[in-house]
């Protein structure tokens, strides 16, 4: 696993892609993290209101997806490519981006899961190219 060096250009590009594709579609917060739990990009309008602890969220999400991946291996799968949790007021979706990155999306019931899955799948290749080449 190589170290990540993020340039301002890559971050700006990734940020605007996430905003245009997810935040404008009604997603509250989108976080791009790596599988070691580092935050690469943090977008969304509810950061100030909700004060999401991005560092803890990133560490737990990376751990949760890593654990899920081990579960997949136990049942003979390579990996599960996405993870979704439904809450009373908010939902969270985790999708793999490339080999080492994870895109976390937090959204309410006003946004459909299908749309999120579709947009995350679209974004995933472009984001992977930006960061992983």
């Amino acid at each position: 696993m190589a170290d990540f060096v993020i340039t301002a250009q890559a971050q700006e590009k990734a940020g605007s892609l996430i905003v245009n594709s997810l935040i404008k579609a009604g997603v509250r917060t989108a976080l791009l993290i790596d599988s070691a739990g580092n935050v690469l990009a943090n977008c969304g309008h509810e950061q100030q209101e909700l004060d999401i602890d991005a560092i803890s969220l990133a560490a737990l999400a990376a751990a949760s997806l890593a654990a899920t991946s081990q579960i997949a291996k136990l049942i003979g799968e390579d990996d599960f490519s996405l993870l979704f949790h439904k809450g009373k007021n908010g939902n969270i979706h985790f999708g793999r981006v490339g080999v080492e990155l994870i895109l976390i999306t937090i959204f309410g019931d006003d946004v459909s899961l299908g749309l999120i899955r579709c947009r995350v799948a679209e974004l995933s290749d472009t984001l992977a190219k930006i960061f992983e080449g």
Partner: protein
């Protein structure tokens, strides 16, 4: 795996406290959390079971000031020490940049200390990391037990068991009262930042 953010001028490193069960890894983090100013540390995250044993990991993010204009941010992690949680330990080690191996001084734990170090070597290999090339500091914890009738290991015995191959810095500590805790943290931080900087930053800054 260090993360170097050139736009925010931040360097993020991951340091993992490793060691056999009940050796005091979480106690180290709790002491650091208690002793550090709130503006320099984030929230401490723990996932433990009812009996206070770490189930997955503890996480404590710290801000350690600037080097060459870059903000240094360190994330301290612990692993669950019990033998059965090997898979979890391997997951937490993913992308780590520095290690602290905490050893238990009880004579009855001598084997566990040695096995723990072997387990660390094995789990690093699973993540394509080499123990001999990583920054590592040893901490001989619970030195206060040496003054009690409980049979304990001497520093010489611990050195022979754990440090004969690694040949790294060690600190004697009593994590519950903070003795040796910050010495260990300072040393591993220095080593880790130097390790990451030598790999990337020195060339990036130039």
């Amino acid at each position: 795996m260090a993360l170097i953010d050139l736009s925010k001028k931040e360097v993020h490193c991951k340091v993992v406290y490793y060691g056999p069960g009940r050796c005091g890894k979480t106690t180290n983090l709790l002491y650091i959390h208690k002793a550090m100013d709130e503006k320099d540390r984030g929230k401490m995250l723990t996932i433990d079971t009812k009996g206070d044993r770490t189930l997955f990991f503890d996480l404590l993010p710290l801000n350690l000031g600037k080097i060459s204009g870059f903000d240094i941010r360190i994330q301290l992690y612990t692993v669950p020490g019990q033998v059965m949680y090997e898979a979890t330990r391997s997951l937490v080690l993913k992308g780590c940049d520095g290690l602290v191996y905490v050893a238990d001084p009880l004579k009855v734990r001598q084997e566990r200390n040695i096995e723990g170090l072997e387990d660390l070597r094995r789990n690093l290999e699973k993540n394509n990391l080499d123990l001999n090339k990583m920054p590592i500091v040893l901490q001989y914890n619970k030195r206060d037990l040496c003054d009690t009738p409980v049979p304990t290991l001497t520093v010489e015995e611990l050195q022979k068991d754990l440090n004969s191959q690694l040949n790294t810095v060690y600190y004697e500590a009593i994590a519950t009262t903070g003795i040796g805790v910050f010495e260990t943290l300072t040393e591993i931080t220095k080593k880790t930042v130097r390790y990451v900087a030598e790999k990337h930053l020195l060339t990036t800054i130039d």
